[in-house]
């Protein structure tokens, strides 16, 4: 099976660009599995947050998936297009990475 990930990329202040990648998957694999495979196969510079990979413990892989805020590690890959974008209400850092840390856990609290 093949999934197409349509990913909103870019830095703050740039016009966001949409890049689509096709990734092969097996039944049951997560969107995060797809993103990790993309870095290996297509573009290692793609930025997204994750830590626990699988357990939904770290809560870092939150993003906009088909327009809905969700965790990439728990949403399954599907055939056809899945749209991925950074969280809309958090400051953009790059690609799918946003500033999600509480202010007092940042290097510069107001950055």
């Amino acid at each position: 099976m093949k999934a197409t990930l349509a990913i909103q990329r870019g830095m703050p202040g740039e016009a966001p660009r949409l890049e689509s990648f096709e990734v092969a998957f097996e039944h049951g694999q997560s969107v995060l599995d797809g993103l990790r495979a993309l870095r290996l196969q297509a573009d290692p510079s793609l930025a997204f947050r994750f830590s626990c990979i699988n357990a939904n413990a770290c809560k870092e892989c939150m993003m906009l998936i088909d327009g809905k805020v969700d965790y990439a590690c728990t949403v399954r890959l599907k055939e056809g297009v899945t749209a991925l974008a950074p969280l809309p209400k958090k400051a953009l850092i790059r690609d799918l990475v946003t500033e999600i840390a509480p202010p007092d856990e940042r290097l510069w609290p107001r950055a």
Binding site: R49, N54, A55, C73, A101, R106
Partner: protein, 574 residues
């Protein structure tokens, strides 16, 4: 302790503190709390979010301590089980510290409302393999690690004197005349270098299971702290002992759950391990070791051995492991033991009453680590270690339930001892201490190299295939060669791809650490020509009494240097 955003691209941001704690998992958070309580100013840095990464948050299992709540107990009994599991290689002083101080830390967590499961008014303690009595506390349902993390995070929120900084990747320990004086870091979100002056530094970065293809820890557990310590001049000990958790989830694909979740199911419900012939096989392997005494429960190393052997004999499950079945149990029993977890499994298409799951060994924990004295200080003055990163307490095999105990106990001791040093000494910081690392970061360039994410995957695959639970000389030699080749592939100049949050630069810096740590595992694994605990050599089966020694890894002029040392068996100095 102030950070000033710099407009000058050359000068890095500089932060000063008494104690720098690297890594904000269970051990790092506890170290920060204790150091602050002792009166030190603390910076708690993590490469991802505070209190979200590392191993503790992932642990769904149990915490061992001689609380004596379930049944009378004494920490000496816990110690004797810990030493037996370690098969002669434990540093008894560190193991005694772990066991003696464990109850105090679990009670402190209880006061902080972690929510240990209770029964008839007392903390409930379960029996786990290798323990002589019920000793393991937990938080229902499968929530031990998340509850411990949450509790420590909330303590941090109300503590004074701790500055938490996420997205800060420590690249090197800064040294002055051989003593630790701080660190140099990369701030991931801005791509800027940061220097940190500290009178004491605590490494709390966890283990190295991220070096393996299938593992149960967070993605950032690639052994950073070991590499930091080695390059700073510290020694590593028992690096060849990597614990594989025998029944890591294999199939069907399970998301939103910790892959090691099946152990508590087995403790509570007694699931059956079956081979492809649907036959229970644990008994076939139970007599290999006198400690298992033919009982149903195999310790982790024996269970790993049993499953791997069944697969090699062509009796594995379709995905290459064993079946774990709960089909003999009434559905109501499964529901009453695991409540909402049953629904999470259903969402993954798993119905335990109807079908077995497939399980296989998965890299879970690292017994080895940085060599310390009983104050948890390395041979580098000012450089301390806590949690899983400490080597020596667990010898050749860790007793189940000791990992979170060690995070709490060693976290507390390292934090307090680091604070004491910091409060008694003046800063050794000088800006030149950061220069080598700043030069390294500045030299990062966009250049044509193999896809580094793929190189990381290649390293994990070769560690799993060649330096996994069952080792041979040819496999280990070919691993050493492959690691050398990957070192040449990535070169000595960092690779970058973007100005901020650059995963390519992070991969390069990770590989710089991971390849060094992979060597530090493989070289002593090749030297140890026997099988003991988690280190199993197919070409040298059986324990060799002459090998009752610890192997020590150090770095000398950039090369791995191996030596031997008799285990510490006396407690006089503790």
């Amino acid at each position: 302790m102030t950070a000033v955003a710099n407009n000058d691209a050359v000068a890095p941001t500089h932060i000063e503190t008494d104690v720098l704690v690297i890594g904000a998992g269970g051990a790092g958070m506890y170290a920060a709390l204790e150091a602050a309580q002792a009166g030190a100013s603390v910076v708690l840095a993590d490469r991802s979010l505070i209190g979200r990464g590392g191993a503790t948050v992932m642990a769904q299992m149990t915490v061992a301590a001689a609380l004596g709540e379930q049944t009378p107990d004494h920490w000496e009994y816990h110690l004797s089980d810990t030493l037996a599991a370690g098969r002669g290689l434990c540093d008894v002083r560190l193991a005694a510290l772990l066991c003696e101080d464990g109850p105090r830390r679990l009670r402190e967590m209880d006061d902080w409302k972690v929510g240990w499961a209770r029964e008839d008014g007392h903390i409930k303690q379960a029996q786990a393999p290798g323990h002589d009595r019920p000793r393991c506390a937990y938080v229902d349902f499968l929530s031990t690690g998340p509850a411990v993390s949450r509790t420590l995070r909330s303590q941090l929120n109300s503590a004074n004197g701790i500055r938490r900084i996420g997205d800060l990747m420590i690249v090197d320990i800064a040294l002055r005349d051989g003593e630790a004086c701080g660190a140099t870091a990369l701030h991931l979100t801005t791509g800027q270098a940061v220097t940190l002056a500290a009178k004491a530094v605590v490494i709390a970065t966890g283990g190295l299971t991220g070096l393996y293809r299938r593992n149960s820890a967070s993605s950032n557990m690639g052994g950073d702290g070991y590499a930091l310590a080695l390059r700073a001049g510290a020694e590593l000990i028992d690096m060849e002992f990597v614990q594989f958790f025998p029944i890591g989830h294999l199939a069907p694909r399970l998301v939103g759950m910790d892959p090691i979740m099946w152990d508590p199911f087995r403790y509570k419900l007694g699931g059956k391990l079956l081979n492809a012939e649907m036959r229970e096989f644990e008994q076939d392997y139970a007599t290999r070791d006198t400690r298992s005494d033919g009982r149903y429960v195999l310790t982790r190393d024996l269970a790993t051995y049993a499953i791997t052997r069944e697969v090699e004999a062509g009796r594995g499950s379709p995905a290459g492991g064993a079946y774990l079945s709960f089909q003999h149990l009434p559905e109501a029993d499964i529901r009453s033991a695991f409540g909402p977890v049953v629904d999470r499994l259903a969402a993954n298409g798993i119905d335990l009453a109807k079908h077995p799951v497939e399980v296989a060994p998965i890299a879970h924990y690292h017994m080895g680590g940085v060599r310390t004295d009983t104050t948890l200080q390395t041979r580098v003055p000012g450089l301390y270690v806590s949690g899983e990163a400490v080597g020596g307490a667990n010898g050749a095999n860790r007793l189940s339930g000791n990992a979170i105990t060690e995070a709490l106990v060693f976290g507390a001791h390292a934090g307090r001892n680091a604070a004491q040093r910091a409060l008694q000494s003046s800063s050794l910081w000088q800006p030149q201490a950061a220069d080598p690392t700043l030069d390294l970061l500045r030299s990062a360039q966009k250049r044509d190299v193999p896809n580094l994410a793929a190189v990381v995957a290649e390293l994990k695959a070769l560690m799993a295939d060649l330096v996994g639970p069952f080792r041979t000389e040819p496999k280990l030699r070919s691993a050493i060669q492959a690691i050398e080749r990957l070192k040449t592939d990535i070169g000595e100049v960092p690779v970058s791809s973007a100005a901020t949050f650059d995963p390519v630069l992070v991969d390069w810096l990770d590989l710089r650490n991971m390849l060094l740590v992979a060597q530090s595992v493989t070289v002593p694994a090749l030297a140890r020509t026997e099988s003991r605990g988690a280190h199993q050599r197919e070409d040298y089966p059986g324990l060799d009494e002459n090998w009752g020694v610890n192997q020590i890894v150090a770095l000398s002029n950039g090369k791995i240097e191996l030596s031997r040392s008799a285990p510490v068996t006396g407690r006089a100095a503790a």
